[in-house]
Symmetry: C2
Subunit: 197 residues, 2 copies
């Protein structure tokens, strides 16, 4: 157990003020330069996988997946590879738990995240679902926005952030350019009200 893990198990009252050690909600997605995370029908075929991106290392930072109903239904349809050791939560007002295999349905993201964060663990991957991102952003529940910009203009599709969302300032934390494919990885912290940019 490292220092980071030890700090994560400190009493919750202390963790509230220790953002760096709190389990982060990270919206991490691939995006076209014109701001789409998928084609109009959820297509991912435009995403070029750069051989120098270490996905294994990325996956190791997460143990929880947070998705919306649409993403859940798409994943179920494509029966894509599940991530071993990862707990999946679907935020939905309409889905029933009995309809869900391999995932836990939750109605209230605030209560869910509070409960997740009571336990020590890794970060929480907010995956796909621009609509869920908008809801959680409005609730100040997103810590970072991490986009891998794929060199393409899609022209149409599912936006990173659906229109009519509230404005949110960001702070650039990290950048990485992958020359083989021209993918540009950018990691931003969401700057909440009252925080300095």
């Amino acid at each position: 157990m490292g220092i980071r893990d030890l700090m994560r198990t400190r009493p919750r009252g202390t963790m509230e003020h220790a953002d760096a050690t709190r389990r982060q909600v990270r919206y991490a997605v691939a995006m076209s330069l014109d701001g789409y995370i998928a084609g109009p029908n959820g297509e991912f075929d435009w995403i070029v996988t750069d051989p120098d991106i270490d996905f294994g290392a990325v996956f190791k930072e997460f143990d929880t997946l947070l998705i919306g109903r649409k993403t859940y239904e798409m994943m179920r349809e494509h029966s894509g590879p599940e991530m071993p050791g990862v707990t999946t939560f679907v935020i939905s007002r309409t889905l029933q738990q009995t309809d869900c295999v391999g995932a836990t349905v939750a109605r209230d993201p605030v209560a869910l995240l509070e409960s997740i964060r009571k336990k020590p663990g890794k970060d929480i991957w907010l995956f796909g679902g621009g609509s869920l991102f908008r809801s959680l952003l409005d609730l100040c529940l997103v810590d970072t926005v991490e986009v891998a910009i794929v060199p393409i203009l899609l022209g149409r599709g599912i936006p990173l952030l659906p229109s009519h969302a509230a404005q949110a300032k960001l702070r650039l934390l990290k950048h990485e350019v992958y020359p083989k494919t021209g993918t540009v990885s950018l990691k931003y912290a969401v700057v909440r009200a009252g925080q300095a940019v």
Copy 2:
């Protein structure tokens, strides 16, 4: 006169096959991370100007401004500073030349660009106006897309590329990160059909 200028004055037949020396049409704009180039009412107040961006050097690369009607009307309303030594063309089907001060109205962008490129000169700045970008992209008339990504999620506004545009592959040519503001500058070539990515 440098080698680049000399090459630009070569006969047109030769220039057609010498893309590197042809006067480029460059769509260069500031963009929010969620893909907007302006707020819903054309607002620019979210654009943070990084002190390390050398705008003087950028302006020196252009002598021609290509804008759409909406951008022209906005510029006229705000009576912003004109760029000395720069010729402005407005692409519009409805504007009359007699209504236009300090700009030349053109109906057909293909004929206009052909005529501009017959003369030696600097690059052509396609400025603002996501709709004009979409039209010129469809006509394969845009050489580069250059975005300065401002660390903000606007949530709504005028998109970099309005929806229902055709897909276009890009090739990353250059990147620059400005740490004082977190602005990320990316320059892409538009990859036309038949060209290798």
